[in-house]
Amino acid sequence: MASYILRRLLLTLPVLAGIVLITFLLARLSGDPTDLLLPPNATDEAREAFRSVNGLDRPLWEQFVTFAIKAVTGDFGTSLRFEQPAMQLVLDRLPATAELAAATMVIALSIGIPAGVIAATQRGHMADGLIRAIMLLGQAVPSFFLGVLGIIVFATWLRWLPTGGRGDWSQLVLPATTLAFNLVALIARVTRSCMLDVLKQDYVRTARAKGVWESRVIWLHALRNAFIPVLTVIGLQVGLLLGGVVVTETIFSWPGVGRLAIQAIYARDFPVVQAVVFVFAVIFVLVNLVVDLLYALLDPRIGYR
């Protein structure tokens, strides 16, 4: 298992190299970074000086190598706005985002999975119809809309919850629920269809023939199998979840990486934007690795090879 993880980590190296390249190109795609990084009214001398200080007068490949070496050591330059190392800024915000993502995942799984299982076992009955209707809604309504709606209803009208910020758990409820909503719908839908498939399998009949309690047949024998494809789907959603983080953190003034990204973009704080993109890409790769490991743990037919 350890060697499997090591091999998988080694395999992510080319991916990380690609990420570094893309992050580098981000600064070049829109032309000369000097225009991005300096105010429009900067003098020509200032521009020249900036170019030579930042090595922008060197050949592109040389600039890339310099950038790559620095990026690998976590040096993305200094934030133009906060005058701090860009990577440090991002890492400081990471715990808040991790907290939000974890709360979101807990909500999404603890609602989505039971909803999917119940819909599958009650197929064609009222509970199934109700859950499916809510799922449809959950998939159709964008999270920013839900977020704003949540603020109006629960923060402004009912005054049950604060409108934003980070501190105690009450401030976590609205953003996490908002972010979880689409995910709940997705997980419930996938769980339902996987359960319907698994409940038809011969081994479910075997479990019943052994005299296993019906609840145990469903929640242990069937769900343990149905969860494997659900996990795959969750893994595929990580990218979307990261996108949702940016929107949700902004709506609820959640001091995480996503909000920092938006602020940095508006402030033309390019080093920070690059650091965020890099960190998000690394998280994406790592989460996929974890999902693959879990997958192999849950399904004995998949060996660590």
Partner: protein, 360 residues
């Protein structure tokens, strides 16, 4: 003379108790499947009786309702399509299984009556260790500790002839061959020493040498554990090797019932005769080495015509066969005990008093 089912079933249905030698009696069992294409009468009034230590074979073509009969007995008809519509399934010491509550039926399954399925490759849960799957069957019914259950499961693995059972306890199903998996299924089925084991074509998916091993194993274990065996098959070779009694099933009903020797020596129903003629090394005198097949197809169980179900394929069909369905009854001048046939050719009355046990 014990005449368990056949024409006496209405009389015996009045008394709830089984004969002393009987462990399972199925009376007039009907199970329907409600599908988009209509109501499939998969089991349409089946009666038979299984005695202690006996192996009763149900034999018949694909789609005649053999599996559904077994699943109906166990209360495991496909959901939500399947339902028992009438009949009784009386198990010794328990009573009518068809009347039991879900929880009472659960307690019976795996403990008093268990089942081995046709598909060993898919019948074990792929994500659990095989030993765990055997232990679970024990823990569901007996108040013993995990360690004791584990020891019993290992003993079961040994009993069904799995080498190094201690290590194999921790194997996953995909690490075993089909034959080994079917042994595990048998271990699960016998773990609580049930009175009755149902085996639905347990060897059909296996190759010939493994088939013989599994059949021998089931024969041995049946004797050792004192269970009775209801063996479903479409293979008359298996019947000859295993059965004490045979029920021939056709289109949802039993068309002939006899001791195994009598059936092979003197098959009465034209369908049985056709089946026997269709095996290469037939023991029936009539086949004379010539291989034949039964022309035509099993009728659609959702759209049954009145009259005998075999009429359309029967070489000896008469007018009366199309008018009314014959009852399963003792043939005219039958010497052998417990023999029944569902054919006008062998019944004296003709279609005047039709279908004694046909459900309304």
């Amino acid at each position: 003379m014990m005449k368990a089912s056949t024409q006496h079933e209405h009389m015996s249905a009045a008394g709830r108790d089984l004969d002393e030698a009987e462990v399972l009696r199925v009376e007039n069992l009907a199970a329907h499947l409600h599908t988009g294409g209509g109501v499939v009468r998969a089991v349409d009034g089946v009666s038979f009786s299984l005695r202690k230590g006996e192996t009763l074979c149900i034999v018949g073509e694909s789609g005649c309702g053999k599996s559904m009969t077994a699943l109906a007995i166990l209360g495991l008809l496909p959901r939500p399509a399947g339902r028992i519509v009438s009949g009784r399934v009386v198990l010794a010491g328990v009573g009518d299984l068809a009347m039991l509550s879900a929880e009472a039926m659960r307690k019976v399954r795996g403990r008093s009556i268990s089942m081995v399925f046709q598909e060993p490759m898919t019948s074990l849960n792929p994500v659990f260790r095989i030993g765990w799957q055997i232990s679970e069957a024990i823990l569901m019914h007996e108040a013993i500790g995990r360690e004791a259950a584990r020891a019993r499961a290992i003993a079961m693995l040994e009993l069904v002839g799995i080498p190094s059972p201690e290590t194999r306890y921790d194997a996953y199903p995909h690490q075993l061959s089909g034959g080994m998996r079917q042994r595990v299924m048998i271990a699960i089925a016998l773990a609580c020493q049930p009175q009755v084991m149902l085996a639905d074509e347990p060897t059909t998916a296996l190759d010939v040498t493994i088939q013989a091993q599994i059949l021998r194993l089931m024969n041995r274990l049946k004797t050792e554990t004192g269970s009775s065996l209801l063996l479903i098959t479409h293979d008359l070779g298996v019947v000859a090797q295993m059965a004490t009694r045979v029920c021939v099933m056709y289109a949802g009903v039993i068309v002939e019932e006899a001791d195994v020797g009598a059936l092979f020596a003197r098959p009465l129903h034209p369908y049985t005769r056709g089946l026997l003629a269709a095996i290469p090394t037939s023991r029936s005198g009539g086949a004379r080495g010539k291989l034949s097949t039964i022309a035509g197809m099993v009728p659609n169980l959702a759209r049954l015509e009145p009259g005998c179900r075999f009429a359309a394929r029967c070489p000896d069909v008469h007018d009366r066969c199309r008018m009314a369905e014959p009852p399963l009854a003792a043939p005219e001048g039958a010497g052998e005990g417990g023999r029944g046939v569902r054919c006008w050719l062998h019944l004296s009355a003709g279609p005047v008093a039709p279908a004694l046990e046909a459900a309304p």
